[in-house]
Structure formats: C-alpha cells, structure tokens
C-alpha cells in the first residue's frame, strides 16, 4: 500500500448502503464529465439516429421522428470505470427495444457509433429486454452536451464507458468488434459487479 497522507479523505460519499456500490467503486455526489475529445455540436436539423449493419433493412429516424417514439423515465445507479458511482440518477429515453423492433436481425453484437468518432461494442443481450435506452433527458432537463446531449446511449448495468455520449446509431455485427476503449485494454463487456474493467478481468 502506498504512503498514507494524514487527514486526506477525498470527497467521497460515505452515507450510502454498501451493497449498492460495486467492488472498487465509491459514491460521488457530482456528475463528473469524462470525454475523449471536444464536445460535438450537431444541429438537430442535421441529426439522425440509424440502425445499420447486419439488418435486413437499415432504419433511420430524424430528430422529430425519434422524439415521437414512446419514451420512459427511469431512475438508476451508474458506475464509471474510473471508480466513481452515482446513485439514483434520473433519465428519460427511448428503449433500445423500441428501436430494434423496427429492424430484422440475427446479429449477436452491436457497436454504438457517435459524433466525434467514439465507438463502443456490446453483446445484443446487454441492450435488449429493458436494459438499455437512448436517453435525451437527465434529471428532468434536456441532456447537456457535455454529458452527451442531444442523446447518449444508456446501459446502466455496465460500466459507463458503454453508455456512449453523442450516439448517432447502432451497427449490428456478427462478431464482437472492439470499440474505442476496448481496443486499448478495456474489457469487451464491462460488468461492474464482476469488476470487468480490463482485458483478462
């Protein structure tokens, strides 16, 4: 163990039930902004969301069409691989099930692709059956660009790098294709309860 500095505690929350915090995580009150690049600003008039790849026919929604889809509000905990967890976050979004219902596919994996070039890969079971949303609101307000607005993928049961900011679509794939962080040591799946942070975990 490293050298301990007298009196240093950090700013972690210590008033949370430990069973809600996955191994190696600590709770925070803030909502840290993490980013691999500058915040994109695509005008909504140019914005589309697509499902492409291993599908019988690709499907695309404009912003108006996307916002006309049924959506739901959810409260959930989120866990970032950089060790902070934030409890009881409130989101509103369109379930990925709703979007995938519009395409025919046998694909077993998806890659989320985003403005700015970020990608992340997931098994299709991790984004279906009520586990994932394309979220457009956080805490009752339209999603801030620094937190991924206009929409981000939301997959709260996995580490938050899978909840891709500025998502523009899902590409369905036959194979698991590593995305931006998955090509650089990060786990292909990322389950915080099994502490799947890096390759080999």
């Amino acid at each position: 163990m490293s050298f301990v500095s007298r009196g240093f505690k950090g700013r972690r929350r210590d008033d949370v039930p430990p069973e809600r915090i996955p191994p190696g995580q600590h709770a925070t009150r803030d909502f840290p902004v993490l980013s691999a690049g500058p915040t994109p600003h695509t005008p909504l008039s140019d914005w589309t969301f697509e499902i492409t790849g291993e599908v019988a026919e690709p499907r695309r929604w404009t912003w108006e069409e996307f916002r006309a889809l049924p959506s739901e509000e959810l409260t959930t905990d989120i866990h970032c691989v950089t060790t902070w967890s934030k409890l009881d976050t409130v989101w509103e979004g369109v379930s990925v099930d709703t979007l995938l219902a519009e395409v025919e596919t046998d694909a077993e994996y998806v890659t989320a692709f985003c403005d700015g070039g970020y990608t992340t890969n997931l098994p299709i079971e991790d984004v279906t059956d009520g586990k994932a949303w394309v979220a457009f609101a956080y805490d009752g307000e339209p999603l801030d660009p620094e937190h991924g607005g206009p929409v981000r993928l939301l997959v709260p049961h996995l580490y938050f790098w899978k909840s891709a900011k500025w998502v523009r679509g899902l590409r369905l794939t036959a194979d698991d294709e590593p995305g931006f962080w998955e090509t650089l040591g990060y786990h292909m799946r990322g389950d915080p309860w099994q502490e799947q942070r890096y390759w080999g975990d």
Binding site: F3, S5, K9, G10
Partner: protein, 250 residues
C-alpha cells in the same frame, strides 16, 4: 510504493511540508523538503499523490513556483470550491505532513534564457505559478532579457506574489508588469479592468516582429482566449507555449 522504481525514469518520492505560506484568501504556498529531489527547470511541474487510510488515491499536477537552484521546492495551490485535493492542501495540510511526489516533469513549458526575442508571460489566476519560477530564475541569473507579464486576476487581493512582483519590476532590469482585475478594482485603479481580449493584448504584448517567446498559463478558457489572440497578433505558433490548467485553474 514510494521509493520503488516504476517503469521509466521517475520514481515517487516523499515530500514533507516544512512551511505553509498564505498568499491570498484562496491560495497557499507549500514549501517542501523532498529527499532525492534532483532539481528542476523553470516552468516544470510535479505530480503529487495523496492516499487515504482506506487506500483511496487522488493524483494531481502542480507547477513548481520556486526558482531552480533555490534549494527548495515550492508549490502554490489554489483552493477550488468542491475540489477533492486542493481544499486539503490549502486548508488542512500542516508542516510535518507528507505526501508522494514525482518530478520534475515537462520540458516543453520551460524558460532558460535562450537567445532570441523578448519574453511575454500571460497568467490567469493561479497560472502565475510556473511563470513565477521563470521570473525568479531570471532575477537569480541577473538576466536582462526584456520581459513583460500580463496577469489577470479577479481582484487585487487575489494577485499572488504581488509584493515580490512589484519589487522585481522596480529593480529596473527590463521587467514590466500589467495587471488586469476582472471582477473588482480598488478606488483609483488605473490598470485594466477586463478579461484579456485582442485589444488589451495589442497594447501590452511585444510586437510580433520582435519574435517574442510567449508563455501562457491558467484555466483552459483563459489560455484558449489568450493564445488565439497572440496568434492573431502574428506570434509564431511554435513560440506560443501553453499550459492549460483545466476548468478550475489547477
């Protein structure tokens, strides 16, 4: 583990605070003793690491404010509201307390009295720290390279090292200071009163034709505005060195 070699040239050393000096209501200088310290060049920084009793660690970078060859290692830290590390360093740390430190780091943002044009230093808030190392080094080596500092602070009471800066300017060795106070000014204030902009820089900065060497340091927003303004004034991009501190000044 402190003292054990890690991959590469830097090892984590143990720094002990020997003195803590209040500079302004929000900033404090930590005077450190670091066994094994190999010295630094003006403008470099250190990484520090704090470990809590339960093993939680936080790491931050701070510019070295003391001059090379001073025999001491000074870090000037600004307290960031809701920060994780700076409130501990500014409010809680006592002489005798210790933390881990590695350095010196960063040969890119260094001044060593190279032959060439005059020097322009642009500081936003606590961004003055590495520039102070450069100014102290300049004084210690009796350099006469024409140097101008433009220092942006919220108010006069937030100007770090104010008396020392005034003394260095009064010494008449080719060093001039301009202050701009962006939020509050004392009665009778004759300096600038606004955030840096093209016009202000045009009045203060050396003309580009003199091939000045510029060092810009402070919050990222400050650095963006200042560096792009220098570009528009014709400064060569390779002679504008920037040290962005991030959103909160370090």
């Amino acid at each position: 583990m402190a003292g054990a070699a890690v991959l590469g040239r830097l090892t984590w050393l143990v720094a002990e605070a020997v003195d803590v000096l209040t500079e302004t209501p929000r900033t404090r200088t930590l005077v450190l003793d670091v066994p094994g310290w190999t010295g630094h060049r003006a403008g470099q920084h250190v990484d520090i690491r704090l470990t809590a009793e339960d093993g939680y660690q936080a790491q931050r970078s701070y510019s070295i404010a003391s001059a090379p060859g001073d025999g001491r290692l000074d870090l000037t830290v600004e307290r960031i509201e809701d920060g994780e590390v700076s409130p501990y360093l500014v409010d809680d740390l006592l002489p005798g307390d210790r933390f881990e430190l590695r350095g010196p780091i960063g040969g890119y943002f260094v001044w060593e009295d190279e032959p060439g044009g005059p020097v322009l230093l642009l500081a936003g808030g606590s961004g003055i720290a590495p520039l102070m190392s450069m100014l102290r080094h300049r004084a210690a080596t009796a350099s006469e390279v024409p140097t101008r500092l433009l220092y942006s602070s919220r108010a006069l009471g937030d100007v770090i090292y104010r008396e020392e800066l005034d003394r260095l300017a009064a010494d008449g060795a080719g060093f001039e200071i301009s202050l701009t106070l962006t939020r509050a000014q004392p009665p009778g204030w004759e300096g600038y009163e606004r955030r840096i902009d093209d016009e202000l820089l045009a009045e203060v900065a050396w003309p580009a034709t003199e091939r000045p060497l510029a060092f810009v340091c402070g919050p990222t927003t400050f650095v963006e505005v200042a560096a792009s303004a220098l570009s528009r004034l014709g400064y060569e991009p390779a002679r504008i060195k920037t040290e962005r501190f991030g959103p909160t000044g370090g």
